[in-house]
């Protein structure tokens, strides 16, 4: 039976140590990923001290239940406040917003709406999804469009239909977070 002596163990240990140190050093030598080098990107970020959310518009061609329109508007306000990117989030019609020089106005224009069914979703797991797609537009006071993107809120499996509005608002907040 071959016995391990002290030198054999120390050689093996050295090899393992070298391998481990190489693994630690290689990522440090590799170039930084794009998202880890944001100084240039930060320069392109928009800035605003306050934002005003205009209530979700109604459309002649698209009928959206009023609870969905209101819930979308209210959730967007809550989620934008939670980002802490703006000192103040004003509501539609708030007279105090007029005095803010760098105010950004958020407009919500519904594009598509599918009223699903919670029961159908939970029973079939493939049918009954609720979705609401809204064109979100960030504009200056003078109407200059700073950012525009269609965003979709969905409930696919579990949850009430109105949960689609919360999903939508979270995506709007992420868009604001990424660009402001």
């Amino acid at each position: 039976m071959k016995r391990f002596n002290g030198t054999a163990v120390s050689k093996g240990f050295r090899a393992v140590l070298c391998g481990a140190s190489l693994l630690l050093v290689i990522p440090l030598l590799a170039p930084l990923p794009a998202d880890a080098a944001p100084p240039q990107e930060a320069a392109h970020k928009l800035s605003a001290s306050a934002v005003q959310v205009v209530r979700t518009q109604s459309s002649a061609t698209l009928t959206i239940p009023e609870d969905f329109r209101v819930a979308t508007y209210e959730h967007v306000i809550l989620e934008l406040e939670a980002t802490k990117k703006f000192q103040k989030v004003y509501r539609d019609g708030d007279s105090r917003a007029e005095s803010v020089p760098d105010l950004v106005i958020v407009t919500l224009v519904p594009a598509t709406f599918t009223a699903g069914s919670q029961k159908e979703r939970e029973v079939t797991t493939v049918k009954g999804a609720t979705s609401i797609k809204i064109n979100v537009r960030f504009t200056k006071k003078d109407g200059t469009v700073l950012l525009e993107q269609p965003i979709e809120g969905k409930v696919r499996f579990y949850g009430e239909n109105l949960a689609a509005t919360k999903d939508f608002a979270k995506k709007v907040a992420k868009l604001a977070k990424d660009n402001f």
Partner: protein, 182 residues
């Protein structure tokens, strides 16, 4: 005949006068009760605030009432009032909710083997969704979405309208899709 008529007429007049005097308090009481009903209290427990009431966490259940010229939502120590003059519109809609829902309900449904949890999803109940639109003192637009047990929201809306809440004529909303059994 003529003699009989003249004798009866004063008696009838007296009877009529007595009847009028006796009925007067009843009529007045009726009017008072009508005035009271316009200022009546409607309280509905187990109302879910989906969103839109400041200081109330979305999804919390409480009691909604119409009292002293305001729509009040009370949940524990939290109380929110929307004064009737601030209300700009009220919408009603129908929906259905699962009997077994929420995080716990979903966990239970998932735990039933062989997809049996889906059978539990077949049990649901009707609810009424009331959307109240109102403005704050700065003119800011607010919207509160409240979910009432079936048939209760109409009573609250009627009470609000009786006390002077503004309601515009709405185009009929599309009916919620009929849920079919798979």
């Amino acid at each position: 005949m003529k003699h009989f008529g003249t004798r009866i007429k004063p008696a009838f007049a007296l009877f009529g006068l007595c009847l009028l005097l006796l009925s007067a308090p009843l009529v007045l009481t009726g009017q008072a009760s009508k005035a009271k009903s316009a200022d009546s209290t409607v309280a509905v427990p187990d109302v879910q605030c989906v969103i839109g009431l400041e200081g109330i966490k979305p999804g919390i259940k409480g009691t909604a009432s119409v009292y002293q010229g305001a729509l009040t939502f009370v949940e524990g120590k939290n109380k929110v009032q929307i004064k009737i003059p601030e209300i700009t519109d009220i919408f009603l809609g129908n929906e259905s909710r699962q009997d077994i829902s929420g995080l716990g309900g979903t966990a239970v449904k998932s735990a039933v083997p062989y997809g049996g949890g889906r059978i539990l999803s077949l049990f649901s109940h009707e609810v009424e969704v009331m959307t109240v639109e109102y403005t704050d003192s700065n003119g800011g637009f607010h919207g509160a979405v409240l979910v009432f047990p079936a048939g209760q929201a109409t009573a609250v809306k009627n009470a609000l309208v009786a006390q002077g809440a503004k309601v515009t004529a709405h185009a009929p909303e599309p009916e919620a899709p009929k849920e079919q059994k798979p």
